[in-house]
């Protein structure tokens, strides 16, 4: 009888231990899941905020943006880009190796966003980097463009010139 009682006690202890450890594991999994859920919600909310910001601060009638792209260019190591709009330096950007890799893999970077009046404007992009021989390369590209009462997008395009075997720089207007 005594043996049976002690056996039952041990069994109960084991069951309670197992139950508490299961509960702890479930709590842990629950917390992890709610953290992931929170992360997803925060990302979604921030995206909504970003869109709202774009709509509010850069209305379609005045919005102006400059993008940077660099596809199939293996012989040029981009260091920095400086953007000058209507004789004023509006932005400059220093690139990390990871960002250069991102551009090479087809990414487009929005380097500048702003508002611009209708009329004639001038944009100069000053690009600095190193060529395949490690020599510093500095190029300026200029674009004169007109803006109507609608959004305007320009792209600073770095591409490979296979004929001359060197990088080409240009500013392209998006239609």
């Amino acid at each position: 009888m005594k043996a049976t009682r002690s056996f039952v006690t041990i069994l109960l202890c084991m069951v309670s231990l197992l139950a508490s450890s299961t509960l702890m594991a479930a709590n842990q999994a629950g917390l992890d899941a709610s953290i992931e859920e929170l992360k997803a919600e925060v990302v979604e909310l921030n995206q909504e905020l970003f869109e709202l910001e774009e709509q509010l601060l850069y209305p379609a009638t005045t919005s102006f943006a400059v993008y940077v792209s660099m596809t199939s260019v293996e012989d040029f190591d981009l260091h920095s880009i400086k953007i000058n709009l209507d004789e004023q330096d509006v932005t400059s950007y220093l690139y990390s190796q990871q960002q250069i890799k991102a551009l090479r893999r087809g990414g487009i970077q929005k380097i500048f966003t702003g508002n611009l009046k209708p009329g004639l404007h001038k944009l100069i992009a000053e690009i600095q980097g190193k060529d395949q021989d490690g020599r510093t390369l500095k190029r300026s590209v200029l674009a004169e463009f007109g803006k109507a009462r609608s959004s305007k997008y320009l792209e600073v395009k770095i591409s490979h010139n296979p004929k001359q075997n060197r990088p080409d720089f240009a500013i392209v207007e998006w239609k």
Binding site: L31, E36, K39, L52, E53, Q55, L57, T71, A102, Y153
Partner: protein, 632 residues
């Protein structure tokens, strides 16, 4: 378990989530959203990438297909949403039919996934993933690392043969060879392998350290591990040989000095053993656990050297030191409750840097618990949980900042609404319109008057009253002359000529006046006309501004309020989860503090007992000496 810690240091945390992806260049030049998503993803801005991915997925029918799912899973992995990413990735890369991912990319994906789960401590999943890697498909520079990772994971699971085959696959001049042989040696120490074989593997690992980027630390670690192993197996001489080679200013110095002392003690070299322990005691903080052990080991050794009075003093000193350590640990525990412990650590983190691949900044300048925290931070579990807490902290910061942004947007919207209403409520346009119409009417009247006045170019319209009388008189005189001529045969030619001359002078003066005045009036009228035209143009411009007054505030207030509500509720939910995670991190530290306190209390008890015993012994000796003296 100790060898798991070693490898955790070895795997670099610089694996990037986007490496899991196949190379996919954007298909359309003008699809800017996709290009931006690619840029964010490849440059490690996972939050932005995930947001843009959401927008892209909402824009159905763009033909990106499964690639967006891969991007999503990649970004999720980068943000530390491992469970979701794992599910998504497994669905994508498990299917061999999925043509979007070529064999090479698939193998790389499995490899990096394995590395990711390994870093997260999910070794079973890591092993499953590494077993799916096709060695022929991965880049040659990754092969050694692959073998190392596979060997380590196989060793964790106890599959020694599999591990051995992977270790043999590593080229000898690769940095991974040193790590792999170290792991193999540690694995041997935990299995029943002959010590000579263990020593040979340790020596091989030491030999291969020259191929690693920072051999100093690894050499120290291998020597310490070997020393500890040989000491625990009773091979003091071999232990001493290895421990002697550990540098005196490295991270492993305290442990090496402590074990070195014990190994010398075991070799009955008590005097020599005191030297490393004194060195350890004087050059390191008493919060270091090795120093704590030394505090009790020194008097123990002194007792063995029969310096009982000195040992008694050292035991008393140790008891006091332990009191101080316990009190310091208690203060740390109190600071944990009052938020002075983990919060300063979180406060120094960069708010934008979060996610699975962003390391926690563990530097602690001027923190009272700096020495202790350094110890706790070396624990993998603490670091993992702290990273999650850091993520929550960063998200809370983001939510608060976003609420500030929303408040600023509200101001912008309100300012625009005010401007709009001001323009709309302005009466000036109506007033000007009325005035312009009045002016136009008056101008027309004036023009009519002027035209009437200048109708006769002879200037009669401009004659004064006396001049008009004169003209009338000339007419009368002319008539009289004519009558006189008919009646009296009056010779009038002379009179007529004189009259014509006088009349001509008057008319000349009138004509001159007409020309002059007309010039003046024309100039005035032209000026007036110009002014009227300018006023009309101004009015037109004002009217245009009135019509096209900025309405860019409409609908935003509602959107902002809606978003604000969402942010507030998110902040509340985050607060609750943050609290839970904070408690979890706190409990790890609390448990650790309790363990340390318990150990120190145990040392203290031992020191007190030993001191009491020694006190008793030395007192008895004195009494015995005194008694002998009395008898003599």
């Amino acid at each position: 378990m100790r060898w798991l810690c070693l490898i955790a240091l070895v795997i670099s945390a610089n694996v990037l989530a986007e490496d899991l992806m196949p190379d996919q260049v954007r298909t359309s030049v003008n699809d800017v959203l996709y290009g931006q998503a690619l840029f964010s993803l490849h440059s490690g801005d996972y939050q932005k990438a995930l947001g843009l991915n959401q927008r892209l997925q909402n824009r159905a029918g763009k033909g990106y297909g499964k690639i967006l799912d891969i991007h999503k899973a990649t970004a999720q992995l980068g943000l530390g949403m491992g469970q979701r990413a794992k599910k998504q990735f497994y669905q994508l890369i498990s299917s061999e039919k999925n043509q979007l991912i070529p064999g090479k990319a698939r193998s790389h994906a499995w490899f990096y996934l394995a590395q990711h789960f390994y870093n997260k401590g999910d070794w079973k999943t890591a092993l499953k993933s590494i077993r799916k890697v096709n060695i022929e498909s991965i880049d040659s520079e990754l092969k050694d690392e692959f073998h190392f990772l596979a060997a380590t994971l196989e060793l964790f699971e106890g599959k020694v043969k599999n591990a051995d085959s992977h270790i043999l696959g590593i080229s000898q001049n690769s940095m991974w060879a040193a790590f792999a042989f170290t792991n193999l040696a540690i694995s041997y120490t935990e299995r029943d392998v002959h010590t000579s074989k263990v020593e040979a593997v340790f020596n091989k690992a030491l030999l291969l350290t020259k191929y690693t980027s920072n051999p100093g630390d690894l050499v120290d670690k291998i020597n310490l591990m070997a020393g500890q192993f040989f000491f625990s197996t009773g091979r003091g001489r071999s232990a001493i040989k290895h421990l002697k080679n550990v540098s005196l200013d490295g991270a492993f110095t305290p442990k090496a000095l402590l074990t070195y002392g014990w190994a010398l003690t075991e070799q009955w070299q008590y005097h020599d053993a005191l030297q490393p322990w004194y060195m350890l005691k004087t050059s390191h903080s008493s919060l270091n656990q090795d120093v704590q052990e030394t505090l009790i080991a020194i008097p123990h050794l002194l007792e063995k050297l029969n310096a009982k009075v000195m040992a008694l003093g050292a035991f008393d000193y140790a008891t006091k030191q332990y009191d101080e350590i316990i009190s310091q640990l208690k203060k740390s525990a109190d600071r944990l409750n009052t938020g002075e412990f983990i919060e300063p650590l979180l406060a120094q983190q960069i708010p934008d840097k979060w996610g699975a691949f962003e390391p926690v900044d563990l530097s602690l300048p001027n923190h009272p618990d700096r020495i202790y925290l350094k110890d706790v931070m070396s624990q993998g579990e603490f670091q993992g949980e702290l990273k999650t807490l850091r993520d929550l902290h960063a998200m809370r910061y983001q939510l608060t900042t976003s609420l500030e942004h929303l408040s600023a947007f509200k101001d912008v919207s309100e300012t625009r609404a005010k401007e709009y209403n001001k323009i709309k409520q302005d009466d000036r346009i109506k007033l000007t319109n009325r005035q312009i119409k009045g002016f136009e009417k008056r101008y027309k009247k004036l023009v009519a008057k002027v035209n009437k006045a200048f109708k006769n170019p002879d200037g009669r319209g401009l004659a004064s009253a006396s001049e008009k009388e004169q003209l009338q008189a000339f007419k009368g005189v002319t008539e009289k002359i004519t009558n006189l001529k008919e009646l009296t045969n009056f010779k009038s030619a002379h009179y007529k000529q004189r009259l014509r001359r006088v009349d001509g002078v008057l008319k000349w003066a009138l004509s001159e006046r007409y020309t002059k005045r007309k010039k003046q009036v024309s100039a005035s009228l032209a000026a007036l006309n110009n002014k009227l035209r300018d006023a009309k143009a101004q009015h037109k411009a004002a009217k245009l501004a009135y019509i096209s007054a900025p309405k860019a505030f409409k609908g935003f207030n509602w959107k902002i309020s809606k978003l604000e509500k969402k942010y507030f509720s998110e902040l509340v939910s985050l607060g609750k989860v943050y609290q839970k995670q904070r408690e979890k991190v706190g409990s790890i530290v609390k448990d650790d503090i309790n363990d340390r306190q318990r150990r120190v209390m145990d040392y203290q008890l031992q020191a007190r007992l030993a001191a009491a015993r020694l006190f008793d012994e030395t007192s008895n000796k004195e009494r015995a000496v005194a008694d002998t003296g009395a008898i003599q």
